[in-house]
């Protein structure tokens, strides 16, 4: 990557390291999936390669569905690195606890709408957490981290996707997980329609009951 002028580590995540860089007079983020020593090299290369190719495709598809995602500039499969637009803004994870109840609700309704748009378009995000959502300076919410996503319009996949969102809210924003998820569903139904959303909600319940240890079944009924 000869064109890159400078490169500073922005974040060392579990799966990839994010670098902030200048590239053709643009501020970009380079997402590099570094080799994982814990798994066999064969398996590691397969996983990193697959996700590196897949992620930009899904981000592009998401844009078509009307979901803001950073623009992709370069995909370097050999090094499992993606160069993309740097989105100025704040992680929704950092915001949820700081804003008013009303603003929190509005944010979550918007998130629900974005998920609805993706699902309507046959896209699954695969890792819906508030760390993967950025509120941009113009008020748009960008979705990132599509590495675990897929093209899939099945009810099952939609259900799991939303179930993960619910779980992420429960583990990270447990104080207002319920109100947030309710707002997400409101936005989701607004896009997908009440009937379709109802089916997904029923599916989420089924998925939860499948788990080894879930809330008492009788309690849920």
């Amino acid at each position: 990557m000869g064109e890159v002028a400078s490169q500073t580590l922005l974040k060392k995540g579990a799966e990839a390291s994010l670098y902030l860089a200048d590239w053709h007079e643009k501020r970009v983020v380079i997402k590099a999936r570094l080799p994982k020593k814990y798994r066999p090299a064969e398996l590691d290369e397969k996983i990193r390669g697959y996700r590196t190719v897949h992620e930009p495709q899904l981000m592009h598809e998401a844009k078509k569905a009307g979901v803001p995602t950073p623009t992709i500039f370069l995909v370097d499969v050999k090094n499992a690195a993606i160069t993309m637009e740097f989105v100025e803004g704040k992680q929704v994870k950092q915001l949820l606890g700081k804003v008013s109840k009303k603003e929190r609700r509005e944010l979550c309704v918007k998130i629900g709408e974005l998920i609805g748009k993706m699902h309507k378009h046959g896209l699954i995000h695969g890792d819906l957490t508030t760390s993967n959502m950025i509120l941009g300076v113009e008020g748009k919410i960008f979705l990132v981290d599509f590495g675990l996503g897929e093209k899939n319009a099945e009810l099952e996949a939609r259900g799991v996707d939303l179930h993960l969102m619910k779980r992420a809210l429960q583990s990270t924003h447990y104080q207002f997980a319920e109100e947030c998820f309710e707002a997400v569903l409101k936005g989701y139904s607004a896009v997908l329609g009440a009937e379709e959303a109802g089916k997904v909600l029923e599916k989420i319940r089924e998925i939860e009951r499948r788990g080894r240890y879930v809330a008492e079944r009788r309690e849920e009924a």
Binding site: G126, R167, Q170, G211, E216
Partner: protein, 338 residues
């Protein structure tokens, strides 16, 4: 009032195939940890048969624990029992033993969450203070960490547990469960001679994983008979362990904790230990593995967690001592953790 060194709690564990009785002092000295495991003649655990086993051995195991601790029943200040999650008939047998003891000795009874107990004994035995815990056994696959009063669940299996996945495959492959040699250990031994990595489904969804598809794929290949059993065991282990390691690393990066704790029956697997050790190092965290005696289901963990709960105000009246088959880890307040 006796000092914490002379106050004893007896804990009864009976969530699945092990019937265990442990004795702990109020300051965390484990005086006894006796157990007897039910070994099915064939197939997996039959809940009713396991419960029958527990009822039969209860008296012997109780006596063994008391004599090992060199105390008399009258010395006990508290009875703790595993209230869930687990298999109904097994849990009920343990609860009955605990209720009877508490009533006879006229001491308080306290119901303990089995998953919380695994974490607490792990912390006690390894010195970990605030870890990200990977708890992997026949019934559980959980990635959790403490935050604001509870152990929060960051990742878990969407279907079957890791130990269950390995056990079912091992049984399909004709491996036998022997006393002192669990199926997982037999599988690990075979996997050590594996050379070829066979492609199997690798399914990570967010911080959760799914293992049922992996098990189906592996058993299908096994029945086809085209691969060496060693290679299949190796590939199954590598794939499944990589999945749990990936989600544990995600939780570690997310929570920024500085300790990793590995516990549960599958924690005995050396390969899994080495994978987790690598991610701990990469995030400057200390890796801890719970010693086998305290990583598998045991009574000591129930006794110790009973002490923690009781000394922080918890008691379980007999009327509320019904078992909770699906009692989730993240539903339990743990006021003793700061």
């Amino acid at each position: 009032m006796k000092g914490p060194d002379e106050a004893y709690c007896l804990g009864v564990e009976s969530t699945a195939d092990d019937f265990g009785v442990g004795i702990s002092t109020f300051n965390g000295k484990i005086l006894a940890n006796a157990s007897s495991d039910y070994v099915p003649e064939k197939g997996g655990i039959h809940p009713r048969e396991a419960a029958r086993h527990h009822a039969e051995v209860a008296n012997t195991v109780l006596h063994e624990a008391l004599s090992k601790a060199r105390i008399k029943p009258r010395d006990l200040a508290l009875i703790a029992f595993s209230q869930g999650p687990g298999l109904g008939p097994c849990l009920r047998t343990g609860a009955t033993v605990a209720r009877a003891l508490a009533a006879y000795l006229n001491v308080p009874l306290v119901g303990v969450n089995h998953s919380v107990a695994h974490i607490e004994i792990g912390k006690l035995k390894t010195g970990a203070v605030d870890p990200v815990t990977l708890y992997v056994s026949g019934g559980n696959t959980l990635v959790s960490a403490f935050d604001s009063g509870r152990y929060r669940v960051f990742g878990e299996t969407l279907d079957i547990a890791l130990g269950n996945c390995l056990d079912v495959f091992a049984r399909e492959a004709g491996l036998k469960h022997k006393r002192g040699m669990p199926l997982g250990a037999a599988l690990e031994k075979l996997a050590a001679d594996g050379e070829k990595l066979i492609s199997l489904p690798y399914i990570v969804k967010g911080m959760d994983i799914s293992l049922s598809g992996l098990l189906t794929a592996a058993t299908t290949l096994l029945r086809k008979g085209e691969y060496r059993l060693e290679d299949l065991c190796y590939s199954l282990q590598e794939t499944a362990f990589s999945m749990v390691t990936e989600v544990t690393e995600r939780a570690l990066a997310h929570t920024e904790k500085k300790e990793v704790l590995l516990t549960g029956g599958v924690a005995a697997n050396r390969r899994l230990q080495s994978m987790l050790c690598i991610i701990a190092e990469e995030h400057d965290a200390r890796f801890n593995v719970v010693p086998r005696e305290f990583a598998t289901d045991n009574g000591a963990m129930i006794a110790w967690t009973g002490v923690l709960a009781y000394t922080h105000g918890a008691v379980t009246p007999v009327a509320e001592s019904f078992v909770k088959l699906r009692w989730r880890l993240d539903r339990v307040d743990v006021p003793w953790v700061k």
